[in-house]
């Protein structure tokens, strides 16, 4: 009887631990996740041609996008934001970097891995790291 009580207590503690762990888990990152590889021109073209198709294929997926940097800027919270060229001057893939690692300049080619958040006037990737 005592043994069962002890076992129950252990189970409750484990369940509680799992709950606290899950509850406090930070949002996931792209680290170690398999990515869909695509060029920034192709990715932006898919969304420009048909946003729904783009969302069906790429929304919330981990993407490794390769392209030429057309603009480097900081967002309002100081995070580095890259714009990778699309196939016309109005389009592109915007990548918000996770941290300040790496140095980027316009004209260079990079591969950046991040979560696809969909499309506004450009395709959006966030939590990005350079590959």
């Amino acid at each position: 009887m005592k043994k069962i009580g002890l076992l129950l207590l252990v189970l409750v503690v484990i369940a509680g631990g799992v709950f606290v762990y899950l509850w406090n888990k930070p949002p996931e990152t792209v680290d170690g996740k398999k990515a869909i590889e695509i060029s920034s021109t192709n990715l932006s073209r898919v969304f420009q041609d048909n946003e729904k198709t783009g969302n069906d294929l790429y929304l919330n997926k981990v993407i490794a996008v390769n392209g030429t940097i057309s603009e480097v800027s900081k967002n309002q919270d100081g995070k580095t934001v890259l714009l990778l060229s699309g196939d016309d001057p109005l389009s592109g893939v915007q990548c918000t970097m996770r941290d300040d690692k790496g140095s980027f300049e316009s004209g260079k080619t990079v591969t950046v891995k991040g979560f696809c958040n969909g499309y506004t006037i450009v395709v959006l990737l966030s939590d990005c790291v350079e590959e």
């Binding site: 949002p27 309002q76 109005l90």
Partner: protein, 181 residues
């Protein structure tokens, strides 16, 4: 045909840079805050597209829902999957008009404005109007506004078990810096 469209787009872009009456961003900031006695929930979005026509006052924000970042993974998951259904409704949009009569975009300062328009979220469109400020600094303009949103108005169902944790007056804050591009 595609080439012609492209040329037209480039011409349009050039014209638009020429007359400089549109201020825009792709990295605007919008956040929301839900306060209840049980818990506070907060999320930030730095991927909002915004355009303000400084002549007509036309104002537009495109808010990608997946771009809202939460402190906790579970909150973000519930927000996307259970409430906003962001796979089905990946973005919210505000289209409105700001009364810019008192705003001088060439003079630094903080100007009070009123905007009225329509917010489409979770597939439902509602009128959203209210006051805000535009802070002009060195040719850029920061749009600041706060308004409250009741999830049920937008067809967002909150199950009874979660209703004590999610406010029916979610405070949305717009703090978006628009530049002449």
């Amino acid at each position: 045909m595609k080439k012609i469209l492209l040329l037209a787009a480039i011409a349009g872009l050039a014209a638009y840079q020429g007359n400089a009456q549109k201020l825009m961003t792709r990295t605007g900031k919008v956040s929301f805050f839900s306060a209840t006695p049980v818990e506070n929930i907060e999320a930030f979005n730095n991927e909002v597209a915004g355009v303000l026509d400084t002549k007509s006052g036309d104002l537009m924000f495109i808010v990608p829902i997946k771009s809202f970042k939460f402190e906790k993974a579970l909150m973000q998951e519930h927000f996307n999957e259970n409430y906003m259904e962001s796979d089905k409704f990946p973005k919210a949009e505000y289209k409105g008009k700001a009364d810019l009569a008192g705003v001088n975009f060439t003079k630094d300062g903080s100007y009070k404005v009123k905007a009225s328009g329509k917010l489409t979220m979770h597939g439902v469109t509602k009128d959203v109007s209210g006051p805000g400020t535009i802070v002009v600094k060195a040719g850029s303009a920061t749009v600041n506004a706060k308004f409250t949103v009741n999830p049920t108005d937008y067809g967002i169902k909150i199950p009874a078990v979660a209703s004590s944790k999610i406010s029916d007056k979610i405070e949305v804050t717009i703090d978006t810096n628009l530049k002449n591009k």
